[in-house]
Every structure is written in structure tokens, then in C-alpha cells.
């Protein structure tokens, strides 16, 4: 345990540095399935570099929120990443109940993006904001069911304890963990606005959700938003990976490699999902989120059963 802090730090920095790779990986996978060459793996880095050099144009109808929202979102997301265990090592900031802080940081981040979208006064962005708020409210239920399951499973109230506490023995009866991971994957797709909830590629205003909200950003602000969303993808990928893969079976640096590789693998999975299905109609999205909730609840019941809670 004495080397846990350096390992965490290395992993954290790796997350910050490597996060823009994830959209690149997803796009490569999609291009592979479509038989195209696709954009370069490092495309987002070049985009970010270009955007940072450009000046920001702020709509004259907006108030102040549009101006500060990207910075706030970036900060909140980085803070959330700090709470997450990285490389199967506990976060140095952990305290009992930090899961709530973690998800509320992400929630606040979303709150600001919605607020900023409303602030522009554009009807498209307002529409996007409304949809975003609706879907994330539904996803919230699933998230909390997953959390309840994790608390039951690991008997721990800290995020790090929950995720690293799912050890090898959980695989003896893997059903609950598998169900919960599926639920979490659905939540990840919903929270990151990926297919089948939203299509990040589309620029047809009527069908956009997340993309509609960031139409008014430009320059460094847009760069911050793009970086934030890639970091968020990393956070969720890392969440699922540390839930699925039992820690403490390899030495410290091998675990780091495993966790980073796992996150990349989750990006590949997202890419496969995106290439194999189309975006759902809005009417079909709530049932999908409810199924995530259902999965988590059934996992919880199974866990209670194995714990002897309902016998």
C-alpha cells in the first residue's frame, strides 16, 4: 500500500493526458466497421490545439453563464476524476459518502451545460437542454440503484472502497456484478450522449441532444467542452473497469497497464455498439433507461439473497 499514492498519481495524469484518445478510438472502430479509413487516432489533440489558438466569440444575447460554463464544467469533471480510484488504488481524497459528491459533481457539471445552453437564447439549444435534462434525470435513478447495489456488495461507503472492494470472490457468483455492469454501461452511454441515446456525429438540429447544446461555443471554450466530454468518457470507462476487474491480483504497475487498457477496451466496446445500432427514437429512450434501472434492481435483489438479507 505504500506505493499506492504514486500509482494513483500516474494513473490520474495518464487519464488527463490520454482522455482525448478515446473519441479517436471510437471513431477508428466505427470507421473500421464501415470500411473507411476514418480520422486519425490523435485527431482530437490536433483539434484541441487548433481551437486553443482561436478566439472565443460569445453571443451578444447571452448573460455571463455562457462565458464561465466551460471552465466550471472542466473543473468539476477533473475534481470528480480525483475522487475515482485509478489503477485500482484508492483515491487520496476518499471519505465515506464521497460517491454522492462524485455523482453530484457530474450532475452539477451537467446543470451548468444545460444552464449555458438556455442562456444562449437559441431555441435549438433550449430543446437540446430540455432533452438532456430529461434523460439524465431518468439515468439518475439507475445510477442510484447501482450505487445501492455497490454499497450492499462491498459494505463500504466510499467510492474507492466500493470499486476496489469487488474482489476476486465476487466472480464466484458473477450474475449480480454482470447485471450491474450492463446497467452501468447503459448509463455510460446515456451520460456521454452516445448511440443509442444520442448521436454525436449528427448535426441535424432536430435530433441532436448534446451537440445542440454546444452550438454557440467557439475557440478555447469549445476546446474545453470537447476535452471535458472525453474526460467524462474516461471516468465512466474507468468506473466500469474497476468494477468488473478484481484488483490486487497483479503488481502495481501491471495494474496500471490493465486499467488503462481496460478503459481503451471500453472505448472499443462503445465503438462497436455505435457501429452495430442506430440511434433510438426519443420515445424508446426512457424504456432503455428503465431497463438499466431494472437490471440494477434485480442485481440488488440477488445480492440481498446471497447476503442472506431476504431469507
Amino acid at each position: 500500500m505504500n506505493n499506492s499514492l504514486p500509482v494513483f498519481a500516474v494513473n490520474f495524469i495518464a487519464a488527463l493526458v490520454l482522455a482525448p484518445l478515446l473519441p479517436g478510438i471510437i471513431n477508428k472502430v466505427k470507421a473500421f466497421f464501415a470500411g473507411r479509413k476514418g480520422p486519425r487516432l490523435f485527431q482530437l489533440y490536433s483539434d484541441l490545439g487548433k481551437l486553443l489558438k482561436k478566439e472565443c466569440v460569445i453571443s451578444s444575447t447571452s448573460g455571463g453563464i455562457l462565458r464561465i460554463a466551460p471552465a466550471i464544467q472542466l473543473t468539476l469533471t477533473v475534481l470528480a476524476a480525483l475522487l475515482l480510484p485509478m489503477g485500482f488504488k484508492n483515491s487520496p481524497l476518499m471519505f465515506p459518502g464521497d460517491v454522492l459528491l462524485f455523482f453530484y459533481l457530474l450532475g452539477t457539471c451537467r446543470f451548468f451545460s444545460v444552464l449555458a445552453a438556455l442562456d444562449t437564447g437559441s431555441s435549438f439549444e433550449g430543446m437540446g437542454a430540455a432533452r438532456e435534462a430529461f434523460f439524465s434525470a431518468l439515468a439518475e435513478a439507475a445510477v442510484f440503484a447501482v450505487l445501492a447495489f455497490l454499497v450492499l456488495f462491498s459494505h463500504s461507503w466510499t467510492l474507492s472502497g466500493m470499486l476496489t472492494g469487488i474482489g476476486m470472490d465476487s466472480w464466484i457468483s458473477f450474475t449480480p456484478v454482470l447485471l450491474v455492469s450492463l446497467a452501468m454501461l447503459l448509463v455510460m452511454l446515456a451520460e456521454n450522449c452516445r448511440v443509442p441515446f444520442d448521436d454525436p456525429e449528427t448535426h441535424l438540429e432536430l435530433t441532436m441532444i448534446h451537440e445542440a447544446m454546444i452550438l454557440d461555443y467557439s475557440g478555447a471554450d469549445l476546446g474545453a467542452i470537447l476535452y471535458t466530454s472525453s474526460l467524462k468518457l474516461w471516468i465512466f470507462g474507468s468506473f466500469i473497469v474497476s468494477m468488473l476487474i478484481p484488483g490486487n491480483i497483479l503488481s502495481g504497475w501491471q495494474e496500471t497497464a490493465l486499467s488503462i487498457g481496460g478503459v481503451f477496451a471500453s472505448a472499443v466496446l462503445v465503438g462497436i455498439v455505435e457501429s452495430s445500432m442506430a440511434r433510438y427514437r426519443f420515445l424508446k429512450v426512457p424504456p432503455l433507461l428503465i431497463s438499466a434501472l431494472v437490471l440494477a434492481i434485480v442485481a440488488m435483489i440477488f445480492q440481498l439473497f446471497f447476503n442472506g438479507g431476504i431469507r
Binding site: I172, S173, T175, S291, V298, I301, F302, I310
Partner: protein, 218 residues
Amino acid sequence: MNQMNELFLGIFLCSCLMLAVSSRLLHCIRIVALQGVLLGIMPVTLAIGHGDIHWSVMIINLSLKGIILPCLLYRTMLKAGVKRELEPVIGYSLSAGVVLALILFSFFISGRLSLPAGASDLAGLAVPCSFAVVMTGLFTVIARKKALTQVIGFLVFENGITLFGAAVMREHPLIVELGILLDVLVLVFIMGISVFQISREFSHIDADRLNSLKEEAR
């Protein structure tokens, strides 16, 4: 292999909850088909490690409950032109709550029944799950108005019974097994016809509107 079976039971419970929230008949039929396929696979996965596999049971369950009956239901659905359950007796969110309560209740009561000696290894989990599926099926029959949805509910009810037979009993009298299959086949066959007849006669298959026969209010 037991983990595999546990996963199947988990999917069974999920399917019950999904049944409670889905309004589209196509979804319901898919859920029933999924359950049928699971019931077809489970005799095999359960028997691995115990020796003899009931291949006949597996094939009949898989083909009948997994394929033929859902297809028949689907055809009837197309013929009758019903797509979704518009006005359920009990709303979808409340249904989900009720089914959840039923699941918890079945875990609760089966906790009070000590397992019989001849039960399979999986029985501890399979008993509450089959209770839950049976109760969900009955609930669906009560909570939905369309004749087709009621048939689906009845099928789920049957699936629960079959699940009990397949997953709890290690060996069972063949006649019970055969009885179920005969039952389901003929039953849905006849029900399908009568659904069709009802729709032809009155141009709707709302079993709720079949209400002329009752004691008059006084």
C-alpha cells in the same frame, strides 16, 4: 455451470420487470420468447455435471415456448391489428412497483420454506424466482385488458411453473412435463383462434369490453 444458471434466473427476473413496464405487444412477445429460450437452455446447463440431459425436454421447450408460440402470438397480433396496450387497468409505473413487490415477497416466502431433500443445487435461488415469475404472470392477466396481453400473461405464468419443474426438481414425472407442453400448445392455439374470432366479431379484442354478462347493478 451454476453461475450460468444464476445468470439465467437473473435474466428471468429482469424479463418480469420489463414485462410490467412495456406497453408494446411486440416487446411483450419478445420477452416471452426470451423466457422460452432460457427454459430450453436450462435443462442442459442444469444437467451438466449431473449426467443425463433431457434432450427431448430441451428441444420441445426451445421450439415450442421459444419459437412457435411467440410466432403464433406475433401472427395473431398482426391479424388483429393491435400494437399496444393503451389503457391498462394498472398503470405501467405502478405495475413495475407491484412486480418488484411480488419479487421481494416471493423471496421472502421462499425463505420460510426449507428446501426439500431431493432439490437441485440451484433450488435456493430457483424457488423464489419461479414464484416471482408465476405471480408476475398472474398479475399481468389481471392488470391488462387486451386479450392478447392476457394470453401473454398466462404464458409467463406457465413459464414460471415450467421453471419450477426444470430448475427445482432434479428428476420429475414425465407426465407432468408432457402435460405442460400439451397444455400450452392447445391452449394458445385455441386462445389464438378465439382472439381472432373475437376480433372478427366485434372488431376489437379488448377483453374488458366483453362485459355484457354480469349481474346488473341494483
